[in-house]
């Protein structure tokens, strides 16, 4: 058996992307620190980017790669706004964990 038998196909990329997406989603739902939750969202978005590129390669279609640029721009805009909100909260109180945000509950 030679090494050439182990070609890396598009499926590998899709599986890695699915794993990254799951890690990100679980992170958002379980972690307490707002910054970590925020990074997990970014992880999810980048997992989707990987999925788009893998599909674009599999379908031999450039559209999927173009979509990645849209995602990057949107993610950058989201970072700017999200960090601003987090900083605004940090200014008022020392910690920014989800458990501290308990002023609103039913």
């Amino acid at each position: 058996m030679t090494l050439a038998a182990y070609t890396i196909t598009d499926t590998y990329f899709l599986v890695v992307a699915a794993l990254l997406f799951t890690i990100g989603a679980v992170g958002v739902l379980t972690r307490k620190n707002v910054l970590v939750m925020f990074m997990c969202v970014e992880l999810m978005l980048n997992a989707v980017n990987l999925t788009f590129v893998a599909f674009a390669h599999a379908l031999d279609d450039v559209a999927g790669q173009v979509i990645v640029f849209f995602t990057l721009v949107v993610a950058a805009a989201e970072v700017a706004v999200g960090l601003a909100i987090i900083v605004a909260i940090f200014r008022r109180r020392r910690h920014a964990t989800a458990d501290d945000l308990d002023a609103l509950k039913g």
Partner: protein, 502 residues
């Protein structure tokens, strides 16, 4: 070697199709420029407010013209199929425009009262509205995604706009985390659909699925599921509603009014277009999901509201229940159902903005305390405002002679026509349960207050005077809710025309 120049084909760009969006973006950018040029000038906020109103009026005028155009010449696509202008898009645009205009009018005196005057507020609201209009015309999943973000990102800031109130910032942060989370899920859904069909254009997907049978369904089905989850978050359908009560309670009340109505209209526009245009062949797969979402939203929204003590929270749960009714109409998947969904979105805009407008006027300075106890006996002390709040609340409950009744009737009729009697019974049951908490608000408003307790609406008279703009909003909402209730014919025709080409 001969250099060959290959002409690059550029898609036709018809700016007319996106003219209202451009008007709102122009207004938003103009407001920011006004702020930059006038700096600390005393008149900066009034000028910014006037400019935003002008851009909204221009957008409304353009929408009105588009309506005539698409009614006459039929729908058309532009920008390489990214944009599709049809009566449905214009109808949603009109609903969003009305909601934005009313929220803006509410905001002006509110911002002054809370000492939050900042022109950026108006810019954010206009830009968010431009995203909603984009969502209505988007005919490509990528365009839907960009529109979703353009409408969401300013809303995160607006929810957190009250810098001095921690609950507002908390609302902004919660909305942001869950909004970004749902956008990522939605985007993964787009990726899956792209992987399954090789295109992101809604009509392209429909064409592909009509001509081919997929060898492997899992990718596409996962994509449809993820898209529904992402949109479920945006329209606040159970089980993706956790953020709604917190965000609605914490956000400044005019922003809550805007979020509850305009965002819902835009979210349902995208949902209807995606399931109806792109996936008619997968009808049997998405319909049960929408069934469950509708049933859960109606029941959970109505039951959870009973346990609440905060008026804004109660209205948040009631908006979840309203989302359930509209999902019911989406589920019916007939032209009657689509028409009922649009009509309900139209009516709900006036019922919800009206109720939130009265609450905006009555709230304490600080906009923090909205407990039911504070509202006790309000209708006795402020008969006009209290009476109007009762009217809006009863309209949401669906009492005859109000628009809410006509809306529910149309939706129930469409589901009956689709012969799903189980969902119909659940819907009626939820409406009965909901009546309980609506009547609880009414009873609180008319019962005698406890002595000594400081109540909402009691503070200095100068602060309690109803501002002219707010008066217009409350009056117009009341008239519209009543008008749709007693003379629904015109509005039903309006909604019917809107779904004609869908």
């Amino acid at each position: 070697m001969i250099a060959v120049t290959v002409p690059i084909e550029t898609p036709s760009v018809d700016l007319w199709a996106i003219a209202p969006i451009l008007a709102l973006v122009g207004g938003g950018v103009g407001v920011v420029l006004v702020k930059a040029l006038m700096r600390r000038h005393r008149a900066v906020t009034p000028v910014a407010f006037a400019l935003s109103l002008v851009s909204l009026v221009v957008a409304g005028f353009l929408l009105w013209h588009q309506w005539d155009l698409v009614r006459g010449d039929g729908p058309f696509s532009s920008m390489a199929g990214m944009v599709r202008l049809d009566p449905f898009a214009v109808f949603i645009g009109i609903v969003v425009g009305i909601a934005t205009a009313m929220a803006l009018l509410l905001s002006y005196s509110y911002l002054r009262r809370e000492q939050l005057e900042a022109p950026e507020y108006f810019a954010l609201m206009l830009l968010s509205a431009s995203g909603m209009l984009m969502m209505a015309v988007a005919n490509d999943l990528v365009a839907v995604f960009v529109a979703l973000e353009v409408l969401s990102i300013p809303l995160y800031v607006l929810a957190a706009f009250d810098r001095r109130r921690l609950t507002s910032q908390e609302a902004g942060l919660k909305y942001f985390i869950l909004g970004a989370f749902s956008s990522a899920i939605f985007l993964y859904g787009i990726a899956m659909v792209y992987g399954g069909t090789g295109t992101t254009s809604l009509t392209g997907i429909a064409d592909f699925l009509a001509r081919n049978t997929l060898y492997e369904q899992a990718t596409l089905l996962a994509g449809i599921g993820l898209l529904l989850v992402g949109l479920g978050f945006k329209v606040a359908a159970v089980p993706f509603h956790m953020w709604t009560p917190d965000v609605y309670q914490g956000a400044p009340t005019p922003v809550t009014a805007f979020m509850a109505t305009a965002t819902k209209a835009a979210g349902f526009a995208a949902l209807l277009r995606i399931v109806l245009v792109a996936f008619p062949q997968y009808h049997d797969d998405w319909q049960p999901v929408v069934w469950v979402l509708a049933a859960l939203s109606m029941l959970v929204g109505s039951i959870a509201a009973i346990a609440q003590h905060d008026v804004k929270r109660i209205l948040a749960y009631s908006s979840i229940a309203h989302a359930g009714y509209i999902l019911m109409a989406v589920y019916a998947d007939t032209s009657r159902g689509r028409e009922a969904a649009l009509l309900y979105l139209f009516i709900y805009t006036f019922m919800a903005v009206g109720a939130f407008a009265v609450i905006t006027v009555l709230s304490h300075h600080g906009d923090a305390d909205h407990t039911l106890d504070g509202y006790r006996g309000l209708a006795l002390r402020r008969p006009v405002l209290g009476g109007l709040l009762i009217f809006f609340v009863l309209a949401q409950a669906g009492i005859p002679l109000t628009g809410g009744f006509i809306g529910k009737l149309e939706i129930f009729a469409s589901v009956a026509q689709a012969k799903d009697y189980v969902l119909l019974v659940i819907g009626v049951l939820a409406a009965v349960i909901a009546t309980f908490f609506y009547l609880r608000i009414v009873m609180t408003l008319v019962s005698a207050p406890d002595d000594g307790a400081e109540a909402v609406g009691d503070a200095a008279p100068s602060r309690r005077r109803v501002d002219g703009w707010v008066g217009i909003v409350i009056g117009a909402s009341a008239v519209m809710v009543l008008l749709v209730g007693v003379a629904p014919g015109t509005f039903i025709h309006f909604a019917r025309d809107a779904v004609f080409f869908l």
